[in-house]
């Protein structure tokens, strides 16, 4: 049944033409898949070296898939990191008796699509704002627009003025909507530190923007 997925991901076939990745002979490809499968089975048993090796070997493929989907290099790299986090969290879902590559590609696809959807939502909001800007201006709207612009600039300045740890925690938990665990892994901060930094960031912003404690 897994092959039913393929028509939904037409770019998978383009990957087959990618230099250095899937141009290998079928036997080589099978051997590589078998090696990855063994490395993952070892990782499931707790072998850190095998896991490190596996992820580093898979990284070019993840990047290729994400860059095929997301034109923006930064966003593609974020999708790669989302994929790495998902592989880590969901590594128990891999069945070593099955090929590794379809499992890996399916996860990468999903995380890249999540990024595309998130970008779509963002651009939808931005388009709505642009459309709103084209509407005939009611009386006093110039003042309102100016106020909104000032407020946005004030918010940007306030966020920029936060200590780096607070800015990072706020960005990961509130803007990228990562879980505390994911934010912790991504930033290298402990979960407790993430919680404290996010709380302090919100408090600081509230204080700076409203003047209230």
């Amino acid at each position: 049944m897994s092959s039913i997925c393929l028509p939904a991901y037409p770019f998978v076939s383009t990957l087959m033409d990618a230099p250095g990745l899937d141009h290998a002979a079928p036997d080589d490809r099978d051997a590589r898949d078998l090696r990855w499968s063994r490395l993952m089975a070892a990782a499931q048993a707790g072998d850190r070296r095998a896991y490190d090796k596996l992820l580093r070997e898979c990284l070019p493929l993840l990047r290729q898939i994400c860059r095929g989907r997301l034109r923006d290099a930064t966003e593609a790299e974020d999708a790669v990191q989302d994929t790495l986090l998902t592989i880590h969290r969901a590594r128990a879902s891999y069945d070593a008796s099955r090929p590794f590559r379809p499992w890996l590609v399916a996860i990468t696809e999903r995380r890249a699509l999540d990024r595309i959807r998130a970008r779509g939502r963002r651009s939808g909001r931005e388009s709505a704002l642009e459309l709103a800007a084209d509407l005939p201006a009611p009386t006093g709207s110039a003042d309102a627009a100016l106020d909104a612009e000032r407020a946005a600039a004030k918010l940007r300045d306030a966020v920029q003025g936060l200590p780096e740890s607070q800015r990072t925690a706020l960005g990961l938990t509130k803007l990228q909507d990562l879980t505390l665990q994911e934010a912790s892994v991504r930033s290298g901060m402990s979960i407790g530190a993430i919680k404290v930094a996010t709380h302090r960031a919100v408090q600081t912003l509230r204080r700076r923007l409203t003047g209230k404690e």
Binding site: M1, S2, S3, I4, C5, A41, A43, Q44, A45, G46, D47, R48, R49, Y51, D52, L55, R56, L59, R63, E77, V80, Q81, L84, L85, T86, H88, R89, A90, R91, A92, S93, Y94, D95, A96, S97, R98, P102, W103, V105, A106, I107, R110, T179, Q181, V185, R186, S187, G188
Partner: protein, 216 residues
């Protein structure tokens, strides 16, 4: 952070995990657990007095069989969808059995109508049916969500909804063994409504529950 640094950090954070059971084995475990719970309920409340008569009449047996098929196939589909490399078309697997289940109940309504006339379409309130399926279906759904928790990363909504459907279908079988209901229409409405409620609650709240229990 660079992806290479993230890999280094993830490898450092690695601890052993038990690979998820294949869908067939997970379904067998789930059906075994649900059967144990239903047997416990039957031992506690006792078999309904007219079960043999109803089975012989030909109405109850197809209904139980299609409910069982719905419960088992919905569970198997949920465990398939909980894995990233499986087709989303697995979600359709329990559909024929669920339609068959509805059809057997609808056919029972028709038979009752032919036999008893309009009186067969009398609708009463059967809160015990409703509360039994909800009361048994929701805890069973929690077990199902735990067993399929890997799906939290991939298709939490469909996995939870199918898990709820499976739990409710099996709870409905338990109810049919215990509780006496006059009239196929009553069975259709109260069993059907309860199954819908459990499935809807599972679809709505299940993904959050799975996120709490997801591994790693």
């Amino acid at each position: 952070m660079q992806s290479e640094d993230l890999i280094h950090r993830l490898a450092g954070d690695l601890h052993p995990v038990r690979p998820a059971r294949p869908p067939g084995a997970a379904t067998a475990l789930w059906v075994g657990l649900a059967t144990a719970v239903i047997i416990g309920a039957v031992l506690f409340w006792g078999l309904r007095h007219d079960l043999a008569e109803r089975l012989a009449s030909g109405f109850e047996a197809p209904q139980l069989m299609t409910a069982l098929a719905t419960g088992v196939l919905a569970a198997f589909a949920a465990f398939q969808l909980a894995l990233p490399d499986r087709s989303r078309l697995w979600a359709l697997l329990p559909l024929p059995a669920a339609l068959g289940w509805l059809a057997t109940m609808g056919w029972g309504c028709l038979q009752d109508f032919v036999k008893c006339g309009p009186e067969a379409l009398h609708i009463g309130v059967s809160l015990p049916c409703f509360s039994f399926i909800i009361g048994l279906g929701l805890p069973l759904t929690m077990v199902m969500l735990w067993l399929s928790r890997h799906g939290a990363w991939f298709s939490p909504g469909p996995v939870a909804a199918l898990g709820g459907l499976s739990a409710a279908a099996l709870a409905s079988i338990g109810l049919s063994l215990i509780h006496h209901l006059d009239g196929a229409l009553m069975v259709l409405i109260w069993h059907g409504l309860s199954v819908l409620v459990v499935t809807a609650i599972a679809a709505k709240l299940g993904p959050r529950v799975m996120r709490l229990g997801r591994s790693g």
